[in-house]
Symmetry: C2
């Protein structure tokens, strides 16, 4: 079956109202364990590949040369929401390598963190590039760039930073990328098959067969993400909630337009999924369902249940509709 599979439904009073389709691949180093939709579908991984984009930062020695901690590595893989814990760390990081906000090339973005938004409005402050959800990734790019000695425009396709990133990305997916686009943060984003992205995540989960430098870098990045769920996204966000619930058994990362990846070190498993229509309510539901089936989160944990059975509460507090992952995917939570 080459078409996108029906994955998530919105039902109102039990009647089907909306459906989300997509492509899902679960695999280990040996191959595919489960698949819905089409594993060869070409996608933009968007921010879901940030841990791959961060590999050169660590394996080049740039991270250690800049004395980056576990928290910086977590932030380098983050799509954060511009809370003080994120912007403060990015600011300190850049100052530590003798750079500043103006060296970033991600562009300013209003924070989505509630307290940051309210506080900035009160103080008539404008968002800066530190608030951009990708400022950690870009701080990583700048740190790598300092090590490589490239020019200031580190987001250009032929810049040494992006050449290193593309190389790591293709080595991990195991395939050449045949296309790229400009991401929301202006960095290049390289296309890949969703199955190849899952394979890259399986390698991150079970890095022993990679070279020792890459294996060490992969392990450090994944451990950093799992150690700091809130740095990777923020309060109330799916990545943070699901990683907190998995408690060291899974690193997960969302990407724009309905992408989500998962890395399960104990099981050596990688997950990649893309919702055809780009919707996050669906990608979050599918990821939560897969983590339940893979035994790394408890479906009764409220941090998980909210995505498995996401209610649509109306203006008078009535639960008028509900999103659920279809049985073809969730299978009543049967082990996968």
């Amino acid at each position: 079956m080459n078409d996108a599979a029906k994955l998530v439904e919105l039902r109102r009073n039990g009647i089907l109202e909306s459906t989300h389709r997509g492509h899902v691949v679960v695999c280990d180093r040996e191959g595919v364990i489960a698949e819905w939709g089409h594993s060869a579908e070409v996608i933009f991984p968007r921010s879901a590949c940030k841990m791959l984009q961060a590999l050169p930062l660590v394996e080049s020695g740039a991270a250690d040369a800049a004395s980056l901690g576990v928290n910086h590595l977590a932030l380098s893989c983050a799509s954060h929401q511009g809370a003080q814990i994120h912007t403060g760390l990015a600011k300190e990081w850049l100052e530590g390598i003798g750079l500043g906000e103006s060296d970033l090339r991600c562009g300013p973005q209003p924070p989505s963190d509630f307290k940051a938004r309210a506080g900035m409005r009160e103080a008539f402050e404008s968002p800066c590039q530190l608030h951009n959800n990708c400022s950690g990734k870009h701080s990583g790019f700048l740190t790598l760039n300092r090590h490589l000695g490239g020019g200031s425009e580190y987001i250009e396709l032929d810049h040494p930073v992006q050449i290193a990133v593309k190389s790591a990305f293709e080595e991990m997916t195991g395939a050449a990328s045949h296309g790229s686009g400009i991401d929301g943060c202006s960095a290049p984003n390289f296309t890949c098959e969703v199955g190849h992205l899952a394979r890259a995540m399986a390698k991150m989960a079970q890095p022993e067969k990679l070279g020792s430098t890459r294996a060490a870098a992969a392990t450090r990045l994944i451990q950093a993400m799992m150690a700091h769920p809130l740095l990777v996204a923020g309060e109330g966000r799916a990545c943070s909630n699901l990683m907190a619930a998995a408690n060291g058994k899974a690193a997960v990362k969302t990407g724009a337009e309905g992408v989500f990846v998962g890395i399960l070190p104990d099981r050596g498993i990688g997950i990649a999924l893309k919702i055809e229509d780009g919707n996050h309510r669906a990608s979050e539901a599918v990821m939560a369902a897969l983590l339940v089936r893979l035994g790394v989160v408890d479906p009764a944990d409220p941090r998980v249940t909210q995505y498995l059975h996401r209610p649509d509460i109306n203006r008078r507090g009535i639960r008028a509709a509900e999103f659920s992952v279809r049985d073809e995917v969730f299978a009543q939570g049967q082990p996968l």
Copy 2:
């Protein structure tokens, strides 16, 4: 073909990133002119059927008994954004029939209108039921209820108001509704086939064959919507922009979860569409494309172009991606 058709694409650097599917029917009183997807797909029309829900208000004589003007009729069909022009009119309307905000049963909703939000934050005001996007529809329900002498809970399925609404809805779609759910505003919403919703809109467009009372009511409601595009939605909204661009040649109305309908009186044409995944960026694109093909808006009009070729501008102002209606639907704008 019974499956949803691919309708709208997001392309990044020309490469397909996301796709929206759905069901679209264009018809006149004689039958279907064009169809994509499946005309027999059962949908919740949500707010896209407000002009049908308002028919009993007018044809019962309740609207005239309450001296409602063209502006009140437009607001009765609105999903407004809680600007002063909307909440002020709803408040005055309710006072005029001896009722008030507490008689509404739609629930409070924060306004989406920029000025209203900013002003309320500054004044530490909480949203009330007048801000609910459906407060005009509910004011219409209360006005009808005063005429019918029903109890206060006018949103219950067996209340005289909702019995009258269901009856008008089924007469216009030409089919019994086999299901209902609770809408975001707590009123019942009745299911129908997307093709039957299009047929109802064709009847609204060409009401001469309806009974004279209904025909007059349909004409008054559609003329009211077209006379007051901003009351039906608000600044920057697709319904308002497209109706303003059509300049009396089309009434259009969005509904939650990717529904959109159109009524073209001069051509006697009705349109109904549902995006399978519920996304508005797609429903707006398809409606704009159909209005172009039906000759009632100019594709070069910025109020239209923004939906036909919706850019995805990134944080540094780069046009990184673009939404477009697929050629199967837009056909380079060829007349339909």
